[in-house]
């Protein structure tokens, strides 16, 4: 039995900064995504994908892809950072297990960075449905996909709260949806609301059933 599309971690990036350097740690997600990338980069043979689309992998595949110069070129090509309107210079500083540790990229900008636009287009060239779940400092979060491949990130705690309140205003590069604590509280509130509606619906249905039962019972013919 082969799982149609195995359930695994989605692709992620973690964005951070220190003075004039913005770091981006990219993790590929599930192992089958890594195999597809390896095939596309020409590092792995094409017969890893079977006719029905199922993917097989060998134990050494992950290392082959991680150690290849093609991978370093690929991530540098698909991740870009701009600060104060200027492109920052990127380099791959560390490549570990791409599923667990990821590849670390460092982008050196012209001056100290308080805000930066980060573009991520990894894997969307393989299939448009891929998306990247991104986390930044102070719990900022964003989702990268084919239509939203650039987000603005703030590395100054004072600006993070301001950005979260103005995130809804239309800007060419959307800011991350919200700061972390806000996001958690809002999630609890929203999902609690959905849960409350569900409980009310269930209670209503139960009450209706009881009433219907009570009114029909005496008149039911034997």
């Amino acid at each position: 039995m082969i799982a149609l599309h195995p359930f695994g971690d989605p692709q992620t990036v973690v964005i951070g900064s220190a003075s004039d350097v913005v770091t981006v740690v990219w993790r590929v997600g599930a192992a089958d995504d890594l195999t597809l990338l390896g095939i596309d980069l020409g590092v792995l043979p094409e017969d890893r994908v079977m006719l029905d689309g199922a993917i097989t992998y060998d134990a050494g595949d992950a290392d082959l892809v991680a150690d290849s110069p093609e991978l370093a070129a690929y991530v540098l090509e698909h991740v870009a950072v701009r600060s104060a309107g200027e492109e920052c210079t990127g380099e791959v500083t560390d490549v570990g297990d791409l599923v667990a540790d990821g590849a670390t990229l460092a982008f050196t900008c012209a001056g100290p960075v308080t805000q930066a636009e980060v573009e991520v287009t990894t894997l969307t060239d393989l299939h448009p449905a891929y998306r990247t779940l991104a986390t930044g400092p102070d719990g900022q979060r964003a989702v990268y996909d084919q239509t939203g491949s650039t987000h603005a990130w703030s590395f100054d705690p004072a600006v993070v709260t301001a950005a979260s309140t103005t995130a809804s205003t239309a800007s060419p590069t959307p800011a991350p949806s919200s700061a972390g604590s806000d996001l958690g509280a809002s999630a609890a509130l929203q999902m609690g609301g959905v849960g409350a509606v569900l409980v009310l619906l269930a209670a209503g249905a139960l009450a209706l059933r009881r009433r219907a039962h009570r009114t029909t019972t005496p008149t039911t013919p034997s």
């Binding site: 599309h5 359930f7 020409g42 689309g53 809002s186 999630a187």
Partner: protein, 268 residues
């Protein structure tokens, strides 16, 4: 670059489940709360359930083997929906806010959940066997009668709610990738309430397929009951059905458990 026309990276997309799932994740991010999103969520859930797994054969076997009713099929479907929603919700929240991926890879977690689901099913199968044997013992070898009328008390023990709910839970224990992605996209973009509502509707789509399979199985059994020409054939059929059901449920549970253990050993 290896080949110019790239092969599609997604696995064979039976009944458009992946395409519907992708469309659903897009809708979580697009502004506004559309009715269309809920329709797509329901369809995506149903399409997902039509694919392999989710205990469809188990549902059929259980309902046929235990003299089930339409209401029992509904219970089964609803417990799959409830368990699936809970599973997606718990894993999604842990993954987003509590760094679940640092503790365990989602692949490993899924395998573990499959193992639990498989063991649950084996348990239900064995319990069905035991109940059947006990019931026969207490009935003192009393003959079986036809099933034309409404209330079917007597020979085959009626399905029990815990058994049904446990089977349903085992079917909804492992989250579907697209429902999980819908929820975490909602959590990441501040639209978690909408995303959760979509996951619930997705679960109802899953439930509708299980419910339909249950109804098909029940009507199939009724056809057999009506078509049986002699009482002897009918008696044999009604005597064998519970045993066959218990056996197939145990075997399916055993297979799921074995597969889970094998992939755990393979990954280690």
């Amino acid at each position: 670059m290896s080949s110019s026309p790239r092969s599609t990276p997604l696995a064979l997309d039976l009944f458009g489940a992946s395409a519907l799932g992708d469309r659903l994740v897009d809708l979580v991010q697009s502004p506004g709360f559309t009715l269309a999103a809920f329709v797509i969520a329901f369809l995506a859930g149903a399409a997902h359930a039509v694919g392999p797994g989710h205990g469809k054969s188990l549902a059929a076997a259980y309902l046929v083997g235990s003299d089930g009713k339409v209401r029992d099929a509904a219970w089964l479907g609803l417990s799959v929906a409830a368990m699936h929603t809970l599973s997606v919700l718990v894993i999604g929240v842990l993954w987003t806010f509590f760094s679940l991926s640092d503790l365990v890879r989602l692949e490993q977690l899924t395998t573990a959940l499959q193992l639990v689901g498989g063991l649950l099913v084996v348990g239900v199968g064995l319990w069905l066997f035991r109940r059947h044997l006990r019931h026969r013992g207490s009935a003192g070898g009393h003959g079986h009668h036809g099933h034309g009328h409404g209330h079917g008390h007597g020979h085959t023990p009626p399905p029990s709610r815990p058994g049904l709910v446990l089977l349903g839970m085992s079917g909804g224990l492992t989250p579907s990738p697209s429902a999980f992605l819908v929820l975490i996209t909602g959590l990441f973009t501040g639209r978690s309430g909408f995303a959760l509502a979509l996951v619930i509707v997705f679960g109802l789509g899953l439930a509708s397929v299980l419910f339909a399979v249950g109804l098909l199985a029940l009507s199939g059994r009724n056809v057999v009951v009506r078509a049986a020409e002699s009482r002897a054939v009918l008696a044999a059929a009604t005597r064998v059905a519970p045993v066959l059901a218990a056996a197939s449920i145990t075997v399916i549970g055993g297979t799921v458990t074995t597969l889970a253990v094998r992939s755990m050993v393979g990954a280690a």
